[in-house]
């Protein structure tokens, strides 16, 4: 991603030395802002690496709290993504394929967690699923289930903020997918659900994968809703973002170390995802 061959192209125009590979990349008005955008996103990460307390890193990283928080973060983010897939994909299908009155309103409601401040989301979850919540009250009374302060609570909070990403991504893909394949499947004897399962789902798989990755990343970084709904307890509800936040007040170096760990793990996972799994072939 370097821009030096602009000179090469100019040379060719003026009849200068011809390069073997003419520069056929992006036009300047697009390239320059793109590079600025890249620098903008990468600079804070680079700064983190530069200012990291490398010498004291081993000590900082050997505490059990760090690995507890990391493990919890990964497990909860993955669980939240799984939940989002199971209920989000059908929801996306409903919004994309079934015409019903008020569909636009429902779509707006589904994407509400995207604009809601996470802490507000956490409070709302408490109102709904807390010990005295609208639904939580009955969960407690009938099943003895309370969700706040539990790992399940973390998964719920993370799923709440992450699912809209998945729903939007999958709905977009479904709309773009040709519904006639489902018709073809029906004429071959497939029920609507079988057609969905064996034809539509494989065709939208890249969109679903992309949505799942977005959801996973969002869930991993969630803070406000988690701390409000599930609280903060090491090993049970203290995810990495919470650990970083609390460490920051006390011991900024530890906070940086934790941030780097989270960063490294996230990059490893996201970079490991192949481009071709995410885009329609």
């Amino acid at each position: 991603m370097t821009s030096p061959t602009k000179a090469g192209a100019a040379d060719t125009l003026t009849g200068g030395p011809r390069r073997r590979h003419a520069y056929r990349g992006a036009p300047l008005p697009l390239l320059v802002p793109a590079l600025i955008g890249l620098a903008f996103l990468v600079l804070p990460l680079v700064a983190l690496l530069i200012r990291a307390p490398w010498s004291s890193m081993p000590d900082l990283l050997t505490s059990t709290e760090v690995w507890q928080a990391l493990q919890l973060s990964l497990v909860c983010a993955t669980a939240a993504t799984a939940v989002s897939l199971v209920i989000g994909v059908p929801l996306a299908w409903l919004l994309a394929r079934v015409e019903f009155p008020g569909r636009g309103l429902v779509r707006a409601l589904v994407t509400l967690p995207l604009v809601l401040p996470p802490v507000v989301g956490g409070v709302a979850l408490l109102m709904a699923l807390g010990r005295n919540g609208v639904v939580g009250k009955w969960l407690d009374a009938w099943f003895g289930i309370t969700l706040p302060f539990t790992t399940t609570g973390v998964v719920i909070a993370e799923a709440f903020v992450a699912m809209p990403f998945l729903v939007i991504s999958v709905e977009g893909t479904l709309r773009a997918a040709d519904p006639r394949y489902e018709e073809a499947a029906q004429t071959l004897g497939a029920s609507r659900f079988t057609a969905f399962r064996r034809v539509t789902l494989p065709l939208i798989a890249p969109g679903v994968a992309a949505g799942a990755v977005l959801a996973w990343a969002r869930a991993l970084g969630e803070f406000g809703a988690t701390i409000t709904f599930a609280g903060n307890f090491p090993g049970r509800t203290q995810t990495m973002p919470l650990a970083v936040y609390l460490a920051l007040q006390n011991d900024p170096e530890a906070a940086i170390a934790l941030s780097l760990v989270l960063l490294a793990v996230s990059i490893a996972v996201l970079a490991g995802l192949r481009d071709r799994w995410m885009t329609a072939s």
Partner: protein, 265 residues
């Protein structure tokens, strides 16, 4: 509870306050060097204060503004540790009142204070339970009951440090369901009835009125927090800021603070 994610919000708030205070102090004539005989105070002052000081400081702030028309006191409440971190990180503020010498030390170690901090009140811990105390909590030991959902402040927060001190001193092992990031969050969990009890300050119990019921415990006497207050070097309006600090430390200020449940220094 909303001001909790306050590190960023506090900085933003202080920034906006600071920029307009610039305008005001350039307009106003109050803050010139001749501060000898009752100078006309004006302009904005930003106060970072521990969450437990919310109600009393807001009252004092209004009193100050009424006594000195043309002034404006803006507050940012939160966990003392978070506030200290943002001050050392460069957030512009005039006054810092923290809930423990330890958190104040973060600021003084960085050299961000203009004068030496002075203790202006002390706060004592108290247990907050659900209204009517349905679980019949009578002592610190009762909190160790496994069926109770107890919430503590995180150890990095003065309230949490004090609670830990009290628990260690009485050789009690308490496993809470959550370590909250400031005392108001901890209190709110009880107010929302999500938790059965929380270890907070006397002042918080008082401020919550009938939403919680307070239970005093003797071990709290061993873990009283001194609250220091200081003027910050970054202050753009030192006269008004100093005047506010003076109000806090005056008899009038002490009246308000004691009424809220604080102990005299």
């Amino acid at each position: 509870m909303m001001q909790v994610t306050g590190v960023g919000a506090a900085a933003l708030l202080a920034l906006s306050a600071c920029s307009s205070s610039d305008d005001d102090s350039s307009k106003g004539s109050g803050s010139d060097a001749s501060a000898s005989s009752s100078p006309k105070l004006s302009g904005e002052v930003t106060v970072f204060a521990a969450a437990s000081l919310k109600e009393s400081f807001e009252t004092l702030g209004k009193e100050f503004e009424q006594a000195h028309p043309g002034t404006k006191i803006t507050f940012s409440f939160g966990g003392s540790d978070a506030l200290a971190a943002s001050i050392t990180g460069g957030a512009p503020a005039d006054v810092f009142a923290s809930a423990s010498p330890k958190t104040m030390k973060i600021v003084t170690d960085a050299g961000d204070n203009a004068i030496d901090p002075a203790t202006f009140v002390r706060n004592q811990l108290e247990i907050a339970t659900l209204p009517g105390n349905p679980d019949k909590v009578a002592s610190l030991k009762d909190l160790t009951n496994k069926d109770l959902k107890v919430v503590l402040c995180d150890k990095t927060v003065p309230c949490g440090a004090a609670a830990e001190k009290a628990l260690t001193a009485s050789k009690l092992k308490l496993t809470p369901v959550s370590y909250e990031e400031d005392v108001k969050s901890a209190l709110n969990k009880v107010v929302l009835k999500e938790a059965d009890a929380a270890v907070v300050y006397k002042t918080d119990v008082k401020a919550a009125g009938d939403k919680v019921e307070g239970v005093e415990f003797p071990e709290s006497a061993d873990a009283i927090n001194d609250y220091p207050i200081t003027l910050l070097k970054e202050s753009r309006n030192t006269d008004t800021a100093k005047a506010f600090i003076a109000l806090v430390q005056s008899a009038e200020g002490q009246k308000v603070l004691t009424a809220a449940g604080f102990l005299q220094p």
